[in-house]
């Protein structure tokens, strides 16, 4: 199916109509957007392509052992606090990061040894590190936090709520995520394509916007419904009946209506996705078959390779890895998780090089929260700010962004037990990515509503 493009004026009119549509648009975005496009003249094909890839680490990734201070002073502080869970200095030599501009206070960081696959990307200026980023309502000092004198993010330290806050600026129950809100702005240029916001992991609010909906697929591609593609129990009539049954509109009950909508999207998209993927040459880059994250990123790479079949110029993807809630067994389990993250991201980078889109694709990590720096014996507990990675050809890599936090407990930069008070907000982080992606200055606040409280609004890593 060819999807039309809208010229710019029509695009703005479409967006205004889309905003007015509100619920109606959200309730039937696929059909609604197609009908609106019908009112606009077709324009030319996209002149460029960009993809944003959110790599969500569920459970709250332990920042303390992800990016480890390796200079003598700070490593000693770290080791004193982390005790048996501290990574020895000797193991950090190979992954020590030398940035283009030195950090203040003699801070030198190393990647955890298991993230060694990211080191060459850092050296090639394709990997940047965002220090101490997390949800904030506005710039917040420790004194303000302690006095509760400024608004704070809702439901801090709660997994499901902080996952939602990271993804949407609101706690669980949020109606849209900033990835989806970016998608809203790109939807028109994509001809309203359902392949604007794509999840290769489960349902999450991140990719849903006011009009843009998340299209969810698995690591093996789109699933075809067998009962409608061949005779059902030997009966062609039954096969037809099944198709009618599962796609017929169900106005009498909201839940049934919504379920039917999902089924229709599933059916409509499957043929297109399966055909597009089948037509692709195999990727040379290999992804670890035993890693869920690697498999998800491989599918993202393949969908990017297939982008012309979908006629899209902008896509937002989401993948994830779980298991980071390491209250215990941090030493046993964290290395393996980091290894998956490093290797999968490196393979993904390589795949984008292979596909000739390395400058067009930017991936970033995110997580519910960082964790405590103090330990409970064999693990760490829920925290707040953490360090994240940004990766891609457009990234101004080999640099640190943000402020290195003091390596302390109950120090100047934490709210107790080494839970970091973020010095960069998710809004700024998201605004930076959105801006690179093509979101206009004046639209940034519609993507990350609180960005206006912060200065600078954009961080500059991409």
């Amino acid at each position: 199916m060819h999807l039309n493009r809208l010229p710019d004026l029509a695009r703005r009119a479409f967006l205004r109509r889309g905003a007015l549509l509100g619920v109606a648009g959200a309730a039937a975005p696929w059909a609604m957007n197609l009908s609106l496009i019908g009112q606009a003249a077709a324009a030319g094909s996209p002149t460029d392509y960009k993809a944003l890839v959110c790599v969500f680490l569920y459970g709250g990734n332990d920042y303390g052992n992800t990016l480890v201070p390796v200079d003598n002073t700070h490593h000693a502080q770290y080791a004193a606090i982390r005790g048996t869970l501290a990574t020895p200095q000797s193991q950090l030599q190979a992954t020590t990061l030398t940035p283009l501009s030195a950090l203040p206070d003699g801070f030198v960081y190393a990647l955890a040894p298991q993230l060694s696959a990211l080191k060459p990307l850092w050296d090639n200026q394709r990997l940047a590190v965002q220090l101490n980023v997390g949800p904030l309502m506005q710039p917040t000092t420790l004194a303000q936090y302690n006095a509760r004198s400024v608004p704070l993010p809702p439901k801090l330290f709660s997994h499901n709520d902080q996952q939602s806050v990271w993804q949407s600026d609101l706690p669980e129950g949020a109606l849209s995520g900033w990835g989806g809100r970016i998608g809203d702005l790109m939807l028109a240029d994509n001809g309203g394509s359902v392949f604007t916001c794509i999840s290769v992991t489960g349902n999450a609010v991140y990719l849903t916007g006011q009009s843009a909906v998340q299209y969810q697929m698995g690591t093996s591609g789109a699933v075809a419904i067998q009962g409608i593609t061949r005779a059902l129990n030997g009966s062609g009539s039954a096969q037809q009946a099944l198709r009618s049954l599962i796609t017929a509109s169900r106005p009498a009950h909201r839940f049934a209506a919504e379920y039917t909508r999902i089924t229709r999207r599933s059916i409509d998209a499957e043929a297109q996705v399966s055909a597009a993927l089948a037509a692709l040459p195999a990727l040379n880059t290999s992804f670890d078959g035993s890693s869920q994250l690697a498999q998800q990123l491989q599918m993202v790479a393949r969908m990017i390779a297939a982008r012309s079949a979908f006629g899209v110029g902008r896509q937002v993807f989401m993948v994830s890895l779980g298991g980071f809630d390491l209250h215990d067994n941090l030493a046993e389990n964290h290395p393996g998780l980091l290894s998956q993250v490093g290797n999968a991201l490196a393979a993904f980078h390589d795949a984008t090089v292979e596909l000739g889109v390395v400058d067009a694709v930017t991936a970033f990590t995110a997580s519910d929260f960082g964790r405590t720096l103090s330990i409970n014996g064999d693990g760490s507990d829920h925290g707040w700010g953490g360090h994240q990675f940004v990766l891609g050809g457009a990234v101004k890599g080999k640099r640190f962004y943000g402020t290195p936090p003091a390596v302390a407990i109950n120090g100047p930069d934490d709210v107790g037990q080494g839970r970091l008070l973020p010095t960069t907000s998710v809004d700024q982080f998201g605004a930076t990515l959105a801006s690179w992606f093509g979101v206009a200055e004046s639209d940034l606040a519609s993507v990350v509503p609180r960005v206006g409280h912060f200065s600078p609004q954009k961080i500059g890593f991409v």
Partner: protein
Amino acid sequence: MAMYMRSLPEAPATLAAPPAPPPPPAPVAADAGARAAAAAALSGAALLAACGGASELPAGFERRAQARTDKTVLGVAAVPAPAAASAAPAAPGVPMASAAPGDVPTASALMDWAERVYSGFFPEHQADQVWAPYTYRLYSNGNAVGVAEGRVYVLGPLVGQSEVPVDVGSLVEFGPLVGASRWAYDDLQAARFLGHATLGATDADIVAVRALGYEAWLALQFAAAPSSGNWDWLVARGVDKDPDAANVAKFVDSQVWQRLIAAPDSLRQRVALALSEVFVVGFDGISGPWKQFKLAAYWDLLASHAFGNFRTLLEAVTLSPAMGNYLNTVGNQKEDPATGRLPDENYAREVMQLFTIGLHELGADGSQRLDAAGNPVETYTQDMVTQLARVFTGWNYDGARSSGNPELMRKPLVLNAAQHSTLAVSFLGTTIAAGTDGKAALTQALDTLFAHANVGPFIGRQLIQRLTTSNPSPGYVSRVAAAFANNGAGVRGDLAAVVKAVLLDDEARSHVGLGHSDFGKLREPLLRLLQWARSFKASSRTGDWNLGNLSDPSTRLGQSPQRSPSVFNWFRPGYVPAGTAMATDGLVAPEFQIANETSVAGWLNFMLSMSSARHADVLPDYTSELALAGDPAALVARVEKLLCAGQLQADARQLVVDAVASIANTGSGPTNRVYTAVMLVMAAPDYLVQR
């Protein structure tokens, strides 16, 4: 053993609903009439005023001779004719249904019922007034209901300000509706109840429910001892003697599938399933040997406490090896000032956030309390979590874990006093004194949690969501929370009372929910499979129930018992599917958290295989259905009855019947007809959304 209910007392003590319903109107009122009623309230009051005030019989009632009939107004039109309704086939030894024509409600009982079930029309409780031959009530919105000579009449905005009364049915006809929270007036009502109360309806269950009435049926379930446990099932198979089984989790899924599909105590297992989705322990988060025994013991624990006391359950869960492992109570050490090590906070946080009180203060109806500035009020602070964590220190397995035998996996954790924190603990307005011994500290902590006003609405609302509907009205939550607070005999935390309150509430049992767009829930995939397995008498070829891990949504069910990916279960109670009409209208839809383009397709593929008996081990027995293969309408009606209490809409039903009929009834035709009937019903969105 059966209880005959010959008449409805006016203020029945044993009814689930309390006698005096609270004023706020419930969202589960009927349809557009309620909105019309609200809109026309002013003119209704004028009508009354013109009649000289509230004490006089409304003039319209005097024109009874000219009354027009409309049996749709209060739902009587939907009730089958009394002759058919009462013709329940009797099981041997089971007395006939009590839903006989002899059950005629009094006028007062009828009007009490109308206030509960049609609160949009009748928004507050009004006293009976008498003006021969009427007994009647007048409402603030101008509506009026009155009973004269056994017939029920209404006036007011709800019938468009008719000048003559509208005859909405006789007291006899209203019997089944008024009694809907006490007995099933036909097989479909019974099946609907069983869809809420069990893991799958069978013919025998339907007969029993119709014969006994709901209360007596429930009483039997509550009184019955738990079925033989998962632990014993493993031992009977020699799994504890199998040297490989310690480290390879053989039968880890089988042990729970067998209970869920084959155990006779279906309500108890349904509640255990619901509890397993609150007090989550998942395979991915446990460690060490004998995982199958650890999880089996945990399921046995949930099942055995399902009708007991919540406080007892809470302590049993806290000290279970499974939960102790999953949320890190096991081996949790007290603080060490020398190294800065602090107690693990995992259990302390989740026992509050997920198992007892949640994140915000709640009213008795489950709504969030707001402070003076209009903000929700946090129940606990981070500091309270840090302090409460001290309570859960010093506990460990009752012995060294070994591959030798699994016995440790079901022994409650024991206290090592040397590892228990001696610091004071302040949380939720309580202080546990420094130096309190671990057992006493645990008792005090759990008592404090149990006593919190949030527990009733917090847990009650989730049980409603797991059993009947995703968006209960504040009234429904209040009534269930009230049952938690006091089971009627002064006991707090009686789960049997809570379960009964959930299942017998008007909101769940009334016909109104069947037609209301906000009532009901998306059946979670696990319930779909289990209801199919039980309704069609599934058996295991090998006896091992080799369904395995069905978590994969692209190729399997997308959900599997005791395999939740995190302590947050497969879906959150507060999940809102973004970008949907539910979101805009402020509804939650938990089960939609695992509904997406992959899982809807995976479900259909998986069910195609199961329904057409293609699984290698777990196979249905369609004997009863095959007997109806020659009559597609009857076949589909039976399948619909068992699986979804006949809730397919007419257009969907016709599609299914026509499809079945299109298959020639020869050779393998009958079998294919049955397979197709089952598959199509289970594919229908009308089936997937349970009401």
